[in-house]
């Protein structure tokens, strides 16, 4: 019996690893899931006189993408996001996290601008309210202003197709 024990332990381990493989290490659950999204109320990158209010976006599902010019993956993500959101007609708003507006605007000119508008979160307080762990992160927010999904890391075509778009379509 004791000679079978290593095999039994190993099989248990293998099953666990197999189940672990089904998980995406980047799909971190958000503490805000199904909760109202925190208020943003920050001036827009494009026009600092205007402010991004969540209430104005009620009535349809949209994406909030947290980005910064100092973040290398964001540079790769921007053109992808621009193309996909245009193709599938999804509203994407940006949260420019701990960044300098000049550099942020410069990056959008070079890499492409997927955003209807971007709010300036210079001190990172809004990001903190959203509980972000790193940049980029993307939140799906529904027509009632609740957080429905959270993705950590850059959005790729596969992530868009398999993760984000199904959630958005289910909300529309």
């Amino acid at each position: 019996m004791r000679f079978v024990l290593p095999l039994a332990i190993f099989l248990g381990l293998a099953i666990m690893l197999g189940l672990g493989l089904q998980r995406d290490p980047r799909a971190l659950p958000s503490a805000l899931l199904e909760q109202p999204a925190p208020a943003i109320d920050r001036p827009l990158l494009e026009d600092q006189q205007q402010v991004l209010h969540l209430q104005d976006l009620r009535g349809r599902a949209w994406l909030l993408n947290v980005w910064a010019s100092w973040c290398a993956p964001c540079r790769q993500e921007l053109p992808v996001l621009a193309e996909l959101s245009k193709r599938d007609a999804v509203a994407v708003y940006g949260l420019n996290y701990k960044d300098q507006p000049d550099k942020a605007r410069a990056l959008l000119r070079v890499a492409g601008n997927p955003y209807r508008a971007s709010a300036i979160d210079g001190d990172g307080r809004v990001g903190m309210d959203f509980g972000i762990q790193g940049v980029p992160e993307t939140f799906v927010i529904d027509s009632q202003g609740r957080v429905r999904y959270r993705h950590v890391g850059p959005v790729t075509a596969e992530i868009w197709r398999d993760r984000l778009l199904p959630v958005i379509r289910s909300l529309q």
Partner: protein, 668 residues
């Protein structure tokens, strides 16, 4: 064309591997001498084809053939030549090809060095290695083909990950893989013994040298990886209990246990099934390491290939290899019967058993810490990470007793030892190490350095490891004290004995260095503008100037710091903040001034304003840091010295002896 040649060589290698896996095994089973004889030429051919395939990939990197996807993803025309070649293993596909190349190299070495072993046994060993090659070659060809074409070809490559552009990175993966894959050989020996049902002491004797070699390479590989983390990642530490570091550390721990358990099986015929199980575990953990790094199950700085398809294949491969071998173990091991070597409670066998239990438990603790976050995710959906506090709390209590008993075990006799004799041989070392640590504590207190209890414990333990080893040498060589005979006595000692002492002394040096480097380090994180000074660990750091500079494939801000100590001497250090052009990735290149007694470390963080006048900087002084590397190097050197032992070179005489007979030489 050359890339297609590489793929073709891989396909032929797969065919050869299938032949190697099937025919000799069948031949050994049914007693077909012709099929058994096939094993050796097939092993040679397999290695030649893998070398051809790897040479093709090297050629693609050398010529910068960006029509090959893997080259385009990992190289760049501005990349210095040494890194172009190192880019071979800078990504997933090339690493896997390197794995296979190493495996075929070890297979060849076994085929070459085992001419004096029974042909049927060698055929089984080579067949087991052939099976592993089959799995890996399938993986290479179907899921991670390094020669896949990119059409249309890229005009320019994406460049090698800047983190990997470091001399240490050129050597780290090959050495680490040599170690990982090297454990396939003792694994194959154990399986061959289990398949044939003759699990005597013979297989243990034959696999000892292979285990030593694999362990030595793994030690060097981990050393380089850790040094790379220290010098390049610039986090100011050298071990982070990162899942991928753990993945290389677990086979090392089990390999260490295996080394010691094989000694008992070889010399005394005991622990047979245990040694076989450890050999299986060591290689399984190597495979698990590959799985963890390559599948993206765990997030980590190292895990650059996130591809569930690959993860699934590697998992199936592990299940097949480990499941089959453990099943074989469960089936055959009970037939081994009771071991022949009886031993008393106080004997070298007992100490080696304790070593085995502690090292295996330590590996298990690391395994749990590495997999626990994953298990929690599977069971409850929570994502957590287990940090250094867990590992320190669980790992140290297991390894410290092992180190404390190391000196005792080496002087204990086989079968039965007496407390009085052990005490007589070790009392000087014990008293001296305690006295020295007490003196150090007092001297530290007098100089205003407070040593924590953990540091003191580490110091005492390190001294004990060193002094008990010295006592052992003294007693072996110094009896009689006639100088004329000393040379004779020195030359009569087997290399294996010197190797053991070197490795054990290395462990002592390592423990001492870690205690001092971590216990007495001073670090200071601050912001500095040009012209300002800060202090850390008794050194003054002045931020003199900052200017742009450029390397072959990066632009950098280079700062000049003047470091001085209490008006004695002063010198300049130049930390850099680099931006690699191709990927736009920023990397802080710390300036490290290494010395025999301390490392001084200056790293640039980020500028706090647009003009770059004020920067965050990290200043760090780590005492005796170099000795951490020296201690580890001594351990690897110990394995090398042991390999020169006559016993391994004259395996031919021993091979014909009946298995299980106790060896005549009394040495370890």
């Amino acid at each position: 064309m050359i890339a297609e040649l590489g793929v073709f060589a891989l396909v032929l290698a797969l065919v050869t591997a299938v032949l190697l896996a099937v025919l000799p095994l069948a031949g050994a089973h049914w007693g077909l001498a012709g099929w058994v004889r096939l094993a050796r030429p097939a092993a040679f051919l397999l290695c030649a084809l893998c070398v051809l395939s790897s040479a093709s990939l090297f050629w693609c990197f050398w010529r910068g053939d960006f029509s090959v996807l893997y080259v385009a993803a990992n190289s760049h025309s501005d990349l210095p030549m040494a890194y172009k070649l190192a880019a071979f293993w800078g990504g997933h596909e090339g690493s896997m090809l390197l794995w296979q190349l190493m495996l075929s190299g070890w297979t060849l070495a076994v085929a070459w060095r085992s001419r004096d072993l029974p042909p049927a046994f060698v055929a089984r060993v080579l067949a087991v290695l052939g099976w592993i090659s089959v799995g890996l070659l399938l993986f290479l060809l179907f899921l991670s083909n390094p020669f896949a074409r990119l059409i249309p070809a890229a005009a320019q490559g994406k460049d090698l990950n800047p983190l990997l552009q470091d001399p240490g990175m050129v050597l780290h993966p090959p050495l680490l893989y040599m170690g990982y894959v090297g454990f396939a050989v003792p694994f194959a020996f154990a399986l061959a013994a289990l398949i044939s049902g003759e699990l005597g002491a013979a297989w243990a004797r034959w696999s000892r040298s292979w285990t030593l070699a694999a362990w030595g390479f793994l030690t060097l590989g981990i050393l380089l990886g850790s040094a790379w983390a220290y010098y390049v990642l610039g986090w100011g530490g050298w071990w982070f209990w990162d899942p991928v570091e753990n993945a290389s550390f677990m086979p090392w721990l089990v390999g260490t246990a295996l080394l010691h358990s094989l000694i008992v099986t070889d010399q005394r015929g005991a622990f047979r099934s245990w040694s076989a199980l450890l050999a299986i575990c060591a290689f399984s953990l190597s495979l698990l390491g590959t799985f963890l790094v390559r599948s993206g199950v765990l997030t980590s700085v190292h895990a650059f290939a996130v591809d569930p398809g690959r993860g699934l294949f590697i998992l199936c491969f592990i299940v097949a290899v480990v499941g089959a071998s453990l099943w074989l173990f469960a089936w055959r091991a009970p037939e081994l019967g009771r071991c022949s070597g009886e031993f008393a409670m106080l004997s070298r066998e007992t100490f080696l058993l304790i070593n085995n239990v502690l090292f295996t438990a330590a590996a298990l603790a690391v395994l749990i810490g590495t997999l626990y976050p994953l298990a929690l995710d599977v069971l409850s959906g929570e994502k957590i990470s287990v940090g250094p506090p867990y590992f320190q709390a669980v790992f140290l209590p297991l390894v410290l007793p092992a180190l404390a008993l190391m000196g005792v075990g080496t002087v204990a006799r086989w079968k039965s030892s007496l407390v009085g004799e052990l005490w007589r041989r070790l009392r000087v070392a014990l008293v001296l190490s305690l006295a020295c640590s007490a003196v150090l504590a007092l001297a530290g207190g007098w100089m205003g350095v407070r040593l924590s209890p953990a540091t003191l414990l580490g110091l005492a333990l390190g001294l004990w490891c060193l002094l008990s080893t010295l006592a052992h040498i003294w007693q072996r060589l110094g009896q009689g004290l006639e100088i004329g005979h000393l040379g004779q006595r020195l030359s009569r000692q087997p290399w294996g004995w010197w190797g053991m002492l070197m490795a054990h002394a290395g462990a002592g040096v390592f423990v001492l260095a870690v205690s001092l480097a971590d216990g007495l380090e001073s670090r200071h994180e601050t912001t500095l503008a040009q012209g300002e000074t800060a202090e850390a660990g008794g050194y003054r750091f002045r931020f003199d100037s900052l200017g742009p500079t450029a390397g072959p494939n990066y632009d950098a801000q280079r700062a000049q710091f003047t470091v001085s100590r209490a008006g004695l001497d002063s010198w300049s250090m130049f930390p850099e903040k680099r931006v690699y052009r191709a990927q736009g990735m920023a990397l802080s290149q710390a300036a490290i001034d290494s010395g025999w007694t301390r490392d001084v470390f200056v790293a640039l963080g980020d500028p706090l304003d647009d003009q770059g006048l004020r920067w965050t900087v990290r200043l760090q002084v780590k005492p005796f840091m170099d000795w951490v590397w020296i201690g580890t190097l001594m351990m690897a050197l110990g394995a090398g010295l042991s390999l020169m032992d006559r016993r391994f070179r004259t395996a031919k005489q021993r091979a014909h002896r009946q298995s299980g007979a106790p060896a005549l030489q009394g040495a370890v």
